[in-house]
Symmetry: C2
Subunit: 80 residues, 2 copies
Amino acid sequence: MKAKVSITLKRGILDPQGQAVLHALSSLGYTGVKDVRVGKLIELDLATHDRAGAEAEVKAMCERLLANTIIEEYRIELME
Amino acid sequence: MKAKVSITLKRGILDPQGQAVLHALSSLGYTGVKDVRVGKLIELDLATHDRAGAEAEVKAMCERLLANTIIEEYRIELME
């Protein structure tokens, strides 16, 4: 089973990397971009096929290691 | 209109960051993880509401700036 974890900065947290991308896009002529936020995408390949167990385990991994829950939020998608 | 761009390393390209996360998870006791790949998630807030135009523009941004198409592939999702 595969898990896709999207980790993004919480609303209100400054995103300097996103601002840098926004400015770079603007210098390339893409002036129709109002805002950019940059996050992480972590794809996990899990040995288990138990959906509920996998979800709980990936949630624990996010809380303990993958995300900094003070400033980031995460979303988990599971696929067979 | 919002665009979500997922940028991942192509299959076959080594992912040292993913390997580091895999080892860290394994030391925390999550031994049921077979592989980890780390990518980027870029969320763009676009001024336009023209779906086809937005898709073409975001694709051009990926090719020119956001992704390194030698080693990375990208997927674009558009939302109102």
